[in-house]
């Protein structure tokens, strides 16, 4: 009996050891090179969207086999860090912040020859090297407004100055209409704060974040404090409902589509939901740029958000080939404009004629800003050397919530400086 038990234990240990040591290479036999691809899902970017986009590339390159990974939530960067730590770093990732990964040598640096098709090939560079394909431009935010609710409050059109915005918000509130729809978290709350910071900080100093990295400016400086004070003021006046901070991104978008508020400061990707037959609301949606005090045009935008490739990918060439093909495929680009409202930053690309009205209006606003040289970085959404230090973006989002829930502005700004110091 004892011998049987001992033999069993030895056999079990041996089997465990053999299982642990063996690796299953599914690419064997078919000759295809397998790569892993980390995606994320939103109401716009559905599983079907990703599957179709991947298929377009693998149809073109049948020698590449893609294993799709999906981030469990919107925070795909943190998930990528967890995968890296556990030895499962994906071969290809999309819209993951390269900060940290790049400096540690985890990402492949694209060469100039590989970036010739991109309009802004050096965008998002880290110490001069580009790790994330600068694939598309997003304006963050555009203020979408519910024309029906505006009419109910006798507002004839969008505000042109910040003072007019406050007047309009007061009129909406007087009619028992919530002026601004917000939610909690980076993508649901960040764009509103980014709008204020664009007009009050970046419009005055487009290099503000570089200066912060160099220690020349601080969050506690008057310009930033003034912008933070504006956000706090919107909440204090009841134009932003602090109870809405418990909404996640999808619920926030739905709240605006359900007519639960008049204005929605959001990235231009919202145009996809505004245009989609499945989600298009009954009311008409207008859009305007976040107004500056003096009414001058300021459009915060970010170009990047594309694919990144692991420097240690087992099939590095296949990963690179897949990433570039995914990013430059005309079908994928067209679909990204329709499904996610993106403005592809690819040379010679023009969006398809059948894009929706919201997309076209946003695209027009952006091109007006480009012509007027009124584009500034989108605060909190920048990448690489243009962005905040790793870990500070999350504190910035928490700070925005603190401002809305009534924490003193000066204290919030000081705490951001403290967090910056900790991260540096």
């Amino acid at each position: 009996m004892n011998r049987i038990l001992a033999l069993g234990a030895v056999a079990l240990a041996a089997a465990t050891g053999l299982t642990a040591c063996s690796t299953k290479d599914t690419s064997q036999g078919s000759g295809a090179k397998e790569i892993t691809f980390l995606t994320f899902e939103t109401p716009n970017l559905t599983p079907q969207y990703w599957d179709a986009a991947i298929k377009r590339v693998t149809d073109k390159y049948p020698d590449i086999k893609v294993k799709k990974l999906v981030s469990p939530d919107q925070d795909r960067t943190t998930y990528a860090k967890q995968l890296l730590t556990s030895g499962q770093f994906p071969d290809v990732m999309i819209a993951v912040s390269p900060a940290g990964f790049a400096e540690a040598g985890n990402l492949y640096a694209w060469g100039p020859a590989e970036l010739t098709d991109f309009e802004f090939p050096s965008n998002g560079a880290i110490k001069g090297k580009v790790y994330q394909l600068p694939a598309n431009t997003q304006t963050i935010p555009v203020v979408y407004y519910n024309k029906s609710l505006f009419s109910q409050a006798s507002l004839s059109g969008p505000p042109k100055t910040y003072a007019e915005l406050l007047d309009d918000a007061a009129k909406l509130k007087a009619r028992n209409i919530t002026p601004f729809v917000v939610g909690g978290g980076h993508d649901a709350l960040g764009p509103t704060f980014a709008g204020i910071l664009a007009t009050d900080v970046y419009a005055k100093n487009p290099n503000w974040m570089h200066d912060r990295r160099d220690g020349k400016v601080k969050f506690a400086d008057p310009d930033f404090q003034k912008a933070a004070g504006k956000l706090a003021d919107l909440a204090a006046k009841g134009y932003i409902n602090k109870r809405d901070l418990s909404r996640d991104y999808a619920a926030t978008q739905q709240a605006f589509l359900d007519g639960k508020g008049a204005m929605y400061a959001m990235g231009n990707w919202f145009a996809a939901a505004a245009d989609s037959p499945q989600t298009k609301p009954k009311f008409d949606i207008g859009q305007f740029n976040w107004p500056a005090d003096d009414g001058s045009m300021v459009v915060p935008a970010f170009t990047g958000g594309g694919l990144l490739v692991s420097a240690t990918a087992k099939n590095l060439d296949a990963a690179k080939k897949f990433a570039l093909a995914f990013q430059l495929d005309k079908g994928n680009l067209d679909n990204s404009t329709k499904s996610d409202g993106l403005f592809p930053a690819i040379k010679g690309y023009t969006p398809p004629a059948d894009t929706g009205a919201a997309f076209k209006a946003g695209y027009e606003l952006f091109h007006q800003a480009v012509a007027a040289h009124a584009v500034v970085p989108a605060f909190g959404f920048e990448a690489g050397d243009d962005g905040m230090l790793p870990g500070v973006v999350e504190k910035w989002v928490s700070a925005a919530a603190d401002l809305i829930t009534g924490k003193p502005v000066a204290q919030v700004c000081r705490s951001l400086d403290t967090e910056w110091d900790k991260a540096s």
Partner: protein, 315 residues
């Protein structure tokens, strides 16, 4: 005959020398032991002990995988923790949450167990109903409660229907968010307490109650003098399990509030460990937090266990 009896008796010859015989007896026992305990010990060493040892090692360094090189910093991380307002806030949040989680399910669980300590299909069904939240995934529970408690959720819609113009932001107002999370955790843990107390109640001999009743004790006195002392082991189990669960809370926070609203209002130590380690990339510092959390849980649970075991009586 006499001479035969007087002759010294010699032990029967041994088949094997004594040492070899002992070895043969020991070996089967060892293999027997290894066969049963080996796999468990192996799993424990690999997945519990080794990570703890590695974490302790990391906690003595400035390990940041994105900012090499890693250097030994001694106890600096631990010293920093005691002046880090973010960590101290998470310690306070965790303590409050743990107190809620230990007290509320214990008290309500005992009350419900007393009500369910009857025979009949209805009581059996109710026991199952109360236990269902325990077996549900904490993520599922969190998503359901988020939908119920957010500003447009069922609770606030009901309150508005009843004429409350501005119902509280249960998850979005820093004044309420922590207690809302505490209530959700208590709801999920309640079933466990009910089951453990029910098991304890069913172990109380009926004769003791009868004897107390004959002596003139009413229901309250019988509960205080008979039932409650004999429920001490159940109280010990519930309290220690809830203490450990309360100190480790992470998943509910991650799904429901993500540590907010605002900075750290519901951020527990476990949540803070993940944020520090995987968002801010300060793995060495996060490891120090994790090690300190382990020590706190071990010490508090140990003290609670000792104190509660003193109350236990044997039948």
């Amino acid at each position: 005959m006499t001479a035969d009896l007087a002759a010294p008796t010699r032990p029967p010859p041994l088949r094997h020398p004594p040492a070899r015989r002992r070895r043969r007896r020991l070996w089967p026992r060892l293999t027997h032991f290894a066969g049963f305990a080996g796999p468990g010990v192996l799993v424990y060493v690999c997945f519990v002990l080794a990570p703890i040892v590695v974490s302790v090692g990391y906690s003595l360094t400035n390990y940041n995988p994105f900012n090499p090189p890693t250097k030994y910093v001694g106890l600096r991380n631990y010293r920093l923790l005691f002046t880090d307002t973010e960590f101290l806030t998470s310690l306070r949040v965790t303590t409050i949450l743990t107190l809620i989680v230990v007290i509320v399910p214990n008290v309500l669980g005992l009350g419900i167990a007393l009500m369910l300590d009857r025979r009949g299909w209805l009581y059996n069904a109710l026991r199952s109903v109360f236990f269902i939240p325990v077996v549900l995934s904490s993520v599922v529970v969190s998503v359901i409660w988020t939908r119920l408690l957010d500003n447009d959720g069922l609770l606030n819609q009901t309150l508005r229907g009843l004429g409350v113009d501005n119902p509280p932001g249960w998850l979005s107002d820093p004044k309420y968010a922590l207690y809302s999370v505490g209530a959700i955790l208590s709801w999920q843990m309640l079933g466990l307490c009910v089951v453990v107390y029910l098991a304890g109640l069913q172990g109380v001999p009926a004769e003791l109650h009868e004897a107390a009743a004959i002596d003139g004790a009413g229901p309250i006195l019988r509960f205080r003098m008979v039932t409650w002392p004999l429920l001490a082991p159940a109280l010990t189990i519930n309290t220690v399990v809830l203490l450990i669960s309360g100190f480790k809370v992470f998943d509910h926070i991650q799904v429901i509030t993500h540590g907010g609203p605002g900075t750290g209002t519901t951020a527990t130590i476990a949540f803070n460990v993940l944020q520090t380690g995987f968002v801010a990339n300060r793995r060495g510092y996060a490891s120090a937090m994790a090690v300190l959390m382990l020590v706190i849980i071990a010490v508090v649970s140990g003290i609670a266990l000792k104190l509660l075991q003193r109350r236990e009586v044997e039948l």
